[in-house]
């Protein structure tokens, strides 16, 4: 099992972003920072929150069925409760 390639280097995943926000908040709450450093952290925190939101909004709701006999083609799978979702 090789390592999954889930995130590009330039962009952090939701979890990393959230952890960064948490770390920023804790640093800010700890005080003893220069105003400049505080503002820099705050800006970073806000940017991380935005990234988290982007991650949450990114996924597109859909359920698809893989059709291997047609070269990995897909077709949407109806999601209605109790409906027949046979192949």
């Amino acid at each position: 099992m090789s390592q999954p390639i889930t995130e590009t280097a330039s962009r952090l995943g939701f979890e990393e972003c959230l952890q960064r926000v948490q770390s920023v908040v804790e640093q800010l709450e700890g005080g003893n920072l220069s105003l400049e450093k505080s503002l820099q952290l705050f800006t970073e925190g806000i940017s991380m929150v935005r990234q988290c939101q982007a991650h949450l909004e990114e996924a597109e709701k859909k359920v698809e069925l893989l059709l291997p006999e047609r070269g990995n083609a897909r077709r949407p799978l109806p999601l209605a409760e109790g409906s027949d979702i046979g192949v």
């Binding site: 099992m1 090789s2 390592q3 999954p4 390639i5 889930t6 995943g13 939701f14 979890e15 959230l18 926000v21 948490q22 920023v24 908040v25 800010l28 709450e29 005080g31 920072l33 105003l35 505080s38 503002l39 705050f42 925190g45 806000i46 929150v49 988290c52 939101q53 991650h55 949450l56 909004e57 990114e58 996924a59 597109e60 709701k61 859909k62 359920v63 698809e64 069925l65 893989l66 291997p68 990995n72 897909r74 799978l77 999601l79 409760e81 027949d84 979702i85 046979g86 192949v87």
Partner: protein, 411 residues
Amino acid sequence: MSRLFSVSQVTNYLRALLDGDEILSQVLVQGEISNFTHHSSGHMYFTLKDANSRLRSVMFRSNANSLQFVPQVGMSVIAQGNISIYERDGQYQLYVSSMRPTGQGKLYLAFLDLKEKLEREGLFEPEHKQRLPFLPKTIGVVTSPSGAALHDILSIIERRYPRAHVLVAPAIVQGAEAPASIVQGLEQLGQLPEVDVIIVGRGGGSIEELWAFNDEQVARAIFNCPKPVISAVGHETDFTIADFVADLRAATPSAAAEAVVPILAELEMSLVAWQNRLSIAMQNAILRKEHAAQAFSARLVQQHPERKLAELVQTLDGLDERLLRAMSDTLTGAAQQVQACATSLHALSPLAVLARGYTITLNQAGDIIRVPSQVEVGDKLETVVNQGRIYSKVISVGGIGHVTTDNGDCI
């Protein structure tokens, strides 16, 4: 002469022999259960017997808990475990780690064989387990498109994380074609870059119906899958090889869905909470700086030059006052001195001598006449007396004792 042993020494020696034996340390024993006792401690004590012999057996609570049937007297079973000696009684017995009724004996043996083989190969090792992505963009599912498992998975995902993208690789999940079908589904989903995690499984069924998930090829496909794989086979009590090799074993398909996606609403709330905390932390950071600035500002005012100046002015005023007082005191003193001097001076003044009746006589040049030889008859003289002057003409000049007449002639 033989060496003398204590009973304990003999027992310990035998136990060491048994424990060191490769066969006895991992045996499968088929037999019928008799003398079964399920002790209140949770341990099970029983005897396995066949037509000719008996084997005392014990199954400790930790293993007994995972039994998937209730052992009963007369039941035919296959027990797996090791043979060792119970020291107190000096009796050998089978320490059972797992047990199955022999109804499914053949399948069960095959299961144990494969499990052991793959375990030896290291397929179950924790270091091979991949971490599940926290927020998968696309979730692959290998299962029957018409099964209850898919329905459960989709409805749980819909409830927790409605935005999820689910890609289903339809698979046959029971029967002879099932293993190849499941392997194909895993391989297809595994190579799609957008797939972050894969659930493989099916709903509950008999052990035969679940058997595809005990297939070696399925196990290897799970192991070789580049994406994290969650196994979700049957019910909570069903354990398959797929469960051991998967990165995570979910008790049921619903549990797999719960494991694979977080609850979106909770995430959003948590995010809002963190954002608020961030803003408050920043506001507080600014407030702290403001307070610090105010404190410094107050201290700065203390140091203002004007304030210093006022202090200096006050000092100066004080000095000024002292100066004036000192000056005035000095002047008063001087005046008194002058007065004293004037008094003594007055005592010495020639005027005071005049007052006592003495006179001073001057010639016309203003010189004081001290001796008679300074004047001649006819000179005009000025005599200063007390309160005035007298002007006269010399009518006679002479030494002491010289007397003149009224007209100035010497006698």
